[in-house]
């Protein structure tokens, strides 16, 4: 069963963070205990979306080996009333920290991989979390590939943009296949997604172009753009079609329908 999920994409702006936050919140709403980590060290954003001003320690510190993972975790369960545990681990948004993370060498990245891998025991086995979700940097960044290696399932967010389609296809073939990762595709910002012809066309694309199972098809919703990342969509808009799509994604993951 997929317990560690990495949300990744080839290009930026495909909706990884939106998906990560709402996937985590949807699991938490269903009573699951979830840990969401910001692994986008070059452009941290979870702190802003989840409105967390100051963290005692950041994920950067844990990967540097200067603090324990418990000091990184921030309990935001109160943001999902009546749900399971909802914890987050943030990336340090300061310019100095971003610069520092960009200059890490291969040996540091190797130790960082070891520390990410040890989260499985520390959080899933010892602390009883049901899911760990990594929001990653786009493209072939070290931190993203570390997250992919650690994960049981990779959710790939893509759009209809031609360069994104081509890059995503190559990334699937040359990265995910080599690591033998279970992968689910989310095509985001789809125009005319209500029409059956369009949905069939996207299903066909997932099967033939990307050759991975479709996890979800997300139409281009003006409400999401208007929200400007200022609230957790699935919590505040429970009847919105986007929320229903997210529920369907979590159902597929829970039922282990992505192989």
């Amino acid at each position: 069963m997929s317990k560690i999920i990495a949300v990744h994409s080839y290009k930026g702006g495909t909706g990884k963070t939106l998906l990560s936050v709402n996937l985590a919140a949807t699991f938490a709403k269903q009573g699951k205990n979830v840990c969401l980590f910001d692994l986008d060290f070059r452009a941290p954003s979870l702190f802003a979306i989840l409105k967390v001003e100051n963290a005692e320690c950041y994920l950067n510190d844990y990967l540097n080996g200067t603090c324990d993972i418990n000091k990184v975790l921030i309990d935001l369960s109160s943001k999902i009333p009546g749900g399971g545990k909802f914890f987050v681990g943030l990336a340090n948004p300061s310019t100095e920290a971003i610069r520092d993370m960009s200059a890490k060498d291969r040996k540091w990245e190797m130790r960082a991989l070891g520390r990410l891998l040890s989260l499985r025991n520390a959080l899933l086995t010892d602390k009883g979390f049901d899911y760990i979700i990594f929001d990653t940097s786009p493209g072939l960044q070290y931190s993203s590939i570390n997250a992919i290696v650690t994960a049981d399932l990779v959710v790939v967010a893509t759009t209809g943009d031609r360069s994104d389609v081509d890059g995503t296809r190559r990334m699937l073939r040359e990265l995910y296949n080599l690591f033998e990762k279970k992968t689910g595709l989310v095509i985001n910002k789809v125009l005319d997604a209500a029409s059956k012809t369009k949905r069939d066309e996207m299903d066909e694309k997932a099967r033939t172009v990307y050759q991975v199972p479709m996890l979800g098809l997300v139409p281009c919703f003006c409400e999401i753009l208007r929200a400007e990342g200022s609230f957790i969509f699935v919590r505040d808009k429970p009847d919105h079609p986007f929320t229903k799509i997210l529920y369907e994604m979590t159902r597929k993951i829970e039922a282990n329908q992505i192989n």
């Binding site: 291969r106 040996k107 190797m110 130790r111 991989l113 891998l117 070290y142 290696v149 990265l175 690591f179």
Partner: protein, 153 residues
Amino acid sequence: MNNYQCVVRLNKPSTVTSVAYTHNTRGTLLNNEEALGRKPLHVLEKIRENLERLNDKMEVMIELQKHGRKDIQPFSDTPLDVMTLLSMPDHLRKTAMTICRCGRATAEEISEQTTRARAVESAYLNQLVIMGYLKKERKGRKAYFYADRESQV
């Protein structure tokens, strides 16, 4: 007899049990421990450990022959990071990925995850040791493999 046959013979329990007994002058079968005291048992244990080490080495030699030594660069100074994993041949990557996930494991434990034969995993793990990516530690009869990330500074 080729190397592979040698490996199989060393793994046969009968090879070890056959030396655990001896005949006295009247032709009565005696247990070695009774006949010679406890010390020879330790010697036999040592012999067994040495045979197992020899077995490991032979498995590596078989693998080296099978792959024509092309993909084995001994004692690389590059760390076992994701880029190294990506550049590995498929058969070694699978083993390396599994040991990364397990942390510390025997060839038997790795073979349970990869569904390949124990002897095959043992050979691949030993290759990764030769290449400098993994460390190997013996505890009694078991050999444990692990990626020593912290010491590779």
